[in-house]
Amino acid sequence: MADAERNASLLRKNDKQKTIQKTVRRGRSSSGNSGTDYCKSDKMNAVVVDSGAFTIKAGHSSRDNPTIIPNCIMKAKSERKRLFIGNQISECRDCSGLYYLLPCERGYITKWDVQKPVWDYTFSKNVCPINDYPVILTQPLFNFKLIQDCMDEIFFEEYEASSMLRLNPTDMARLKYNEDHNLTDDTPVLIIDTGFSFTHVIPYIKGNKYLKGIKRLNVGGKLLTNHLKDIISYRQYNVMEETYVINQVKEDTCYVAEDVKAELKLAEKYGKKNNIVKNYVLPDFNNIRRGYIQDPDKVDEGAENCQILRLNNERFLVPEILFHPSDIGMKSMGIAEAIVKSIFLCPLEYQRALARHILIIGGNCKFPGFKERLFKELRSLLPHLWHVNIYQPEDPILYTWQSGSALLSYPNIKSLLVSKKEYDELGSALIQQRFNHWNNSIVVENEEGKTPSQPSPLEEFSLMNNLKGKSVFGKHDIGTSSSETTTMTPTPTSSRILINLSEILQEAASEPGKEVVGAPGTQSAAAAFAEIVEKNAIITTASAAALASGAAVLPNDNENTNEQTDQDGITAKKIRLRDRSTSQDFPLVPPQEEDPFENLVLFPFGRNSYI
């Protein structure tokens, strides 16, 4: 185990060195004609950055795999003179009691004094220099405006990126999934992204996120590690300060049981009959740098003076929180329930197809048995006649980064990028809307059979005409894009501007055949729009565009949900029925006559310390 890990890290290092050489060569050849030469080759190259809350995956798109950089600054007890940023932790001799400075709170960057140095490190010339390449950067769903402002400023003003595209990790992953499976772009796909901070369930319909079907479960790898830390500290040694080590324990020993009741029965057995219980040798950072599971049949001399953790039901009960957050008192549905709920919140005609195309990504997928268990639960919760298909990529952590190449081969990728010049001219607010609308513009163009063009910033705004019933976050609201009309109730102050704008936009829309660049209507529309954004942030492109095309923008929630109530009723009933049967055959454990932990001394919380 330890050897494999070492080899892997060695390989990574070699790989890294190779790519550095490559990038340096590239950098030289491209210097001078800044940022234009990538257009010459048929496939664009870029620096792809999947900036997660736990690790940053960054690298040039020509590479097979990115460099993985811990997204944190660490302080070691053993070395008081320095900080460890990102990968520098490999230089740290003793990783016990590591203190973490994490830039994210619940997955969103709030500590810029941490994020900035880590990014500085990431984009330094020996790790992943940006040079003149476009930057593809991921951001979490609903990334808050202030955070996006700051990202814009850092990348455009400080790193002087020539152009940038920001998108959700799942936007990118969907493209690769479609490409790898030869699916059309409008295939409905349900993506489950279960990472460090949270787990998202996101249905994509016609290439767009279906907002009303999205679910977020506030359980991620961080919570699982902290929980494991807590129960080990209560039952064995105080490891509350050993997040770094216990995270490795989690990675090395935890798995998802297919059937918890059966697994618990096995874990209750004694001696050789119990093949779940494992001894884990903790690192001492002297002879052992990374802990490992002891082979019960071999004499382990190396671990003679090391502390050993005994892990039994912890191995599968910790990941169980993903499926039943109520196990730790969280009032939230589990991952399988959330997926079923999400599917039934989507329009009826897409539900079956979503169950057929389920993609799971993120670090928590790596628990052995995760996919099998998820399939088992979904199979029993979803209608029998439906096909349920779950696809887990070979590397669920790197999949998002790897999908960068699928994104870059997208025909109109160039029009999605925002250049530094556009940022300077338009400012953060407008380019953020472009980022948030990117899925829509692709779909709209495909539907109309347009050939991809390289629009000027003004032309981009003319695309607003096409954005029917789309919200500011750029997801297609299928329920409202039909011809049904709902009454608009603009606030008194904004109504006048809205009407004026709608007239202008209607004018522009009435000349569809006309070349859009430089059309007077569009220009004034863009100007008016920019003015409005300044004056009144209430109005969004979506509302303006919807007004222009006469479609309704205010989604009628009641109408949509009414259709679903029946469905929900059925599912709820079904779930309840299942429960009764489960709780009945959930056996009550008789008071144990022989305690399996007889030889295990319980150290109450905080009394004994590891290391």
Partner: protein, 162 residues
């Protein structure tokens, strides 16, 4: 709350339980919130370098930035600049998002949070992790056996009831 036979078996324990304060619903919720906070925390211990002056000074990678090929060096900002300019805590960000979502009638960060499960909760012994059908009379924590109950009484129960 279930009173199990095994609890009734020892009379000493009943007396002990009589003396024990029953933790009310609000305190139990507060404890649960604390547990959830702990599960979201970055560190359990204090900054080991807190007493050092240098700890605030994060090394910069200026050397590297300077050597970027076509970069001008006009805008080099410190990390503190961003921290001060974009200082808002998570709650404020969520609140802003909710207000903006309401005005634009779009789905917000808060809206997509998972609802409560319709499945009944499962009960595990807080001490050993196996199924636990009994709960503590004082604080409601689950346990499976007398042995585990005793451990609970000596450890986490007292701590939280205080």
């Amino acid at each position: 709350m279930t009173i199990s036979k095994s609890t009734l078996r020892g009379s000493n324990r009943i007396k002990e339980n009589d003396k024990r304060r029953v933790v009310d619903e609000t305190s139990r919720k507060r404890r649960q919130r604390k547990v959830m906070e702990l599960l979201e925390s970055d560190n359990y211990h204090d900054d080991p370098h807190a007493d050092l002056v240098m700890s605030k000074k994060v090394p910069k990678f200026e050397d590297n930035l300077e050597q970027r090929t076509t970069r001008t060096k006009k805008k080099e900002r410190t990390a503190d600049y961003y921290q001060n300019k974009f200082r808002k805590n998570f709650q404020q960000l969520v609140e802003e998002d909710r207000n903006e979502a309401e005005e634009n009638n779009r789905v917000s960060y808060m809206d997509i949070k998972c609802e409560e499960s319709t499945l009944p909760p499962r009960h595990f012994c807080a001490v050993c992790g196996f199924l636990g059908q009994y709960n503590c009379l004082s604080c409601g924590t689950r346990f499976c056996s007398i042995r585990c109950m005793d451990t609970h009484m000596e450890t986490r129960c007292l701590k939280w009831a205080a």
